[in-house]
């Protein structure tokens, strides 16, 4: 740690920090466009010019004669940084005037408006007007940059963050700067559009509205989006994300910086893979089949008094509870629960403790774990090869579920070992409680045959499946955006996810269903449950703090693992 003075505020900074990071620790913002924590330094935007000086051994202060870029200037003991002098302020004004020289000022139709650093910095550090009396240079918009990316060329400030990203993080190097001087433009190499699996990140990296996501283009003005911290459920990396929604509709996911989980970025599979949560085919109502009836009777026909149907859940859950108890009484060891790796730790705990609480001879198992291909490592080499293990900056994992580690911990506590539901063999039990929640069809032949046609089949899922077709009870559950809870990623990092929208129609988040089913008093409260789980299950003791913070906490078992990402 070295002592640095930023605008007379003394602060302890890491000797590896640059001036921007040191100033941030002192609560002083140094505006910047081209610099990004996980990319190399180019110092090309000139927005972060500051006055830097040093303290001589005799205590006198010697300031440098010229302004220096804060992103490129390292600090040492006694470094003095000034961002509030008139010299710096004039420089910031002039830089912004230059950057805006050919900017079309089309904020009214620009998707970035509201979260644009040109807007923010102009407001904070810029001038109100331009002295340009010449026609602005107009450039053609480029829709060919990528399947998901459009480039509004005239809004670009040539920070080259996007170019550096494709060279340093994805390693695919599709983007480049063409031409020179005031003719500089971002473009792709001919016939190599920017379609790599991390391409969506260049839209987030772009500090202005030049690179826009075609998926989100003109869908919503950003100031209407409400944000919730969440975790991507696309793979077991468990990227920290922010869910942006308005009026109960999710418009986009964006990565949230988390050095513990994935760094600054996320993959396009996760970024655009959330759309299933608004699928029309989702199970929207709980359904109950009368034991004697041959056809699927709806709730409406099992209970004739109409007023109670405003909320079918109390009736459905009371009936389900009765059926579970009867089934366990008749054949306790023939009652099998299938926990899904898409459940949160809290939900798995609620269900496991409820069923085991009735009879400990019941069996808890783990549902299918979707594995697609092998881990995809970045940055790619020039021929598309994977990097060496110590050079990996981003990993898209083959295990396409968010919470295998957490569910296995629950199973080890309640069952003693992890039993795969698929390995149970044909029609091996008389009663099943199957939890789904997968983002796509998950019922494979093995699990289908293992379940067979038991005397009681309860399915808690979000999409219809062969199992839900023949189930006696279907509980309409919630997707990841509708749940509160904890996911534990492949490296044992327990992260809190927060509900951002309401489930469709009469569907309910799994935690709420299981809370009522287990007859526990009160509402589902993830934080309170985390405290309870942490004290009861030693393997998960790390989550006993309740509040996991923005970055999550690592389970004790995985404490020695290095952080997953350095990007």
């Amino acid at each position: 740690m070295v002592k640095v003075k930023v605008n007379d505020i003394e602060v302890d900074a890491d000797p590896k920090d640059n001036c921007i990071l040191a100033a941030r620790k002192a609560g002083v913002e140094i505006p910047h466009y081209c610099w990004h924590e996980s990319l190399s330094v180019v110092a090309s935007c000139r927005m972060c010019l500051v006055e830097v000086g040093e303290t001589k051994p005799d205590g006198t202060v010697a300031m440098g004669p010229k302004l220096v870029p804060g992103c490129q200037t390292p600090i040492k003991e006694g470094t003095i940084i000034r961002t509030d002098s008139s010299k710096v302020k004039t420089s910031q004004q002039m830089t912004l005037e230059l950057l805006l020289l050919n900017h079309p000022l089309d904020c009214s139709i620009c998707d970035q408006a509201g979260e644009c650093y040109l807007q923010d910095y102009t407001y904070k550090y810029g001038k109100a007007h331009s002295r340009l009396d010449e026609p602005k240079i107009q450039r053609e918009d480029k829709y060919h940059i990528g399947e998901q990316i459009a480039l509004f060329t005239d809004r670009c400030v040539m920070c080259t963050r996007c170019v550096r990203f494709t060279r340093e993080i994805s390693g695919t190097a599709e983007l480049q700067v063409v031409a020179r001087g005031s003719h500089e433009e971002i473009d792709v190499f001919p016939d190599t559009p920017c379609n790599n699996k991390l391409a969506g990140n260049v839209v987030d990296l772009c500090p202005v509205g030049a690179l826009c996501s075609k998926d989100f283009l003109y869908k919503k003005r950003v100031w209407w989006l409400k944000h919730a911290d969440s975790v991507c459920t696309g793979c077991s990396t468990g990227c920290s994300v922010q869910v942006d929604q308005n009026d109960n509709k999710v418009y986009r996911l964006r990565p949230r910086e988390n050095p513990q989980a994935q760094g600054h970025f996320m993959c396009d599979e996760g970024r655009f893979g959330f759309k299933y949560i608004h699928d029309e085919r989702r199970i929207k109502y709980p359904r109950l089949k009368a034991p004697s009836a041959t056809t699927n009777a709806t709730v409406r026909s099992t209970e004739p008094s109409d007023l109670t149907f405003a909320d079918p859940w109390p009736m459905v859950l009371a009936d389900t509870r009765k059926r579970i108890q009867t089934a366990i009484q008749n054949d306790p060891s023939g009652f099998v629960v299938v926990l899904s790796a898409f459940m949160t730790v809290e939900e798995a705990y609620l269900l496991a403790s409820y069923i085991k609480g009735i009879d400990s001879r019941t069996k808890l198992t783990l549902g299918p774990i979707p594995i697609v291909g092998s881990d995809d490592l970045y940055p790619k080499g020039p021929k598309g090869q994977s990097p060496a293990a110590d050079k990996v900056k981003f990993t898209i994992r083959a295990e396409k579920c968010p919470n295998r580690t957490g569910i296995e911990a629950i199973l080890r506590h309640f069952e003693g070992s992890v039993i795969q539901a698929e390995s149970l063999g044909k029609s091996s039990a008389s009663a099943w409680f199957v939890v789904g929640g997968y983002s796509s069809g998950w019922v494979n032949e093995k699990i289908d045959q293992a379940v067979g046609t038991p005397s009681l089949l309860i399915v808690q899922d979000i999409f219809p499946s062969p199992l839900s077709e023949r189930a006696d009870v279907v509980l309409a559950a919630g997707s990841f955006a509708e749940r509160d809870g904890t996911y534990v990623n492949h490296a044992g990092l327990a992260q809190a996810t927060h509900a951002s929208i309401r489930p469709p129609e009469q569907a309910r988040a799994d935690g709420r269903i299981l809370m009522d089913l287990a007859g526990r008093a009160g509402l589902f409260n993830a934080m309170a449950l985390r405290k309870e789980i942490g004290t009861k299950i030693p393997e998960l003791s790390a989550i006993a703090t309740g509040d996991l913070g923005e970055h999550g906490v690592r389970l004790a078992k995985f404490a020695n693992r290095p952080a997953a990402a350095k990007s």
Partner: protein, 221 residues
């Protein structure tokens, strides 16, 4: 009677002693009621006198509406319209500023990328696919007009808006454009401003004055 007054007086005194009040607020005293004022009789008499004076003066002030339509002041805020640009397209660029500014939540826009393949729309990036205003919910405050950066939405002097159903009072884009077509003909509601370009920097461009103003983005020539 006396106690609440004291409280009130104390509160006023406390307010006056606030440092901010001393600087910026000029404090006045409400005149105290005399016994005559408290009777209210003088006020009643003077009111009656005004009524009698008007009754005998012979100047009728009844307006013969609807036979005679009133003169509407030019700043009257009536039914909305969506202006057209020189090419006859909707001037609106779907920036949602009016919807954001609207305190009554009566405007709903769905934006779409402009049909770039159509030469008619070549210079536009974004346009409103739908634009609806619930005229019943609107409070006619004129904030939308003030917020509009391209002077696309304006309030006309149409004051006698009626309808048989709630549905027909929800004006869509076509209806709002037709209000424009109607009102520009009558001459009562000229297009109030004709800036057309976006942003102050676009204004400063010298050549922009000669070229026809681009309707959408501020690509001033």
């Amino acid at each position: 009677m006396s106690e609440p007054q004291t409280n009130e007086a104390q509160k006023n005194e406390a307010l006056k002693n606030k440092p901010s009040a001393k600087k910026s607020v000029k404090w006045g005293e409400a005149p105290k009621l005399t016994i005559l004022d408290a009777l209210y009789l003088p006020a009643i008499v003077s009111g009656l006198a005004t009524a009698v004076r008007h009754a005998v003066s012979g100047k009728a002030t009844t307006r013969q509406y609807p036979e005679v339509e009133p003169e509407i002041p030019p700043n009257y805020r009536g039914v909305h319209r969506l202006n057209r640009d020189e090419a006859g397209r909707v001037k609106c660029v779907a920036c949602y500023m009016c919807q954001t500014a609207c305190p009554a939540n009566c405007i709903e826009i769905i934006a779409a990328p402009a049909p770039k393949d159509d030469p008619h729309w070549k210079d536009r990036d974004k346009f409103p696919a739908t634009f609806t205003i619930d005229e019943l919910r609107c409070i006619y405050c004129g904030m939308c007009e003030e917020a509009c950066p391209v002077d696309a939405i304006e309030l006309t002097s149409i004051y006698d808006l009626t309808g048989m159903t709630r549905e027909e009072m929800i004006f869509d884009k076509e209806k709002l454009l037709s209000v424009f077509d109607e009102t520009v003909k009558t001459g009562r509601d000229p297009v109030r401003t004709n800036r057309g370009k976006l942003g102050p920097a676009a204004e400063l461009s010298s050549t922009a004055k000669d070229a026809p103003p681009p309707p959408g983005r501020g690509k001033s020539g």
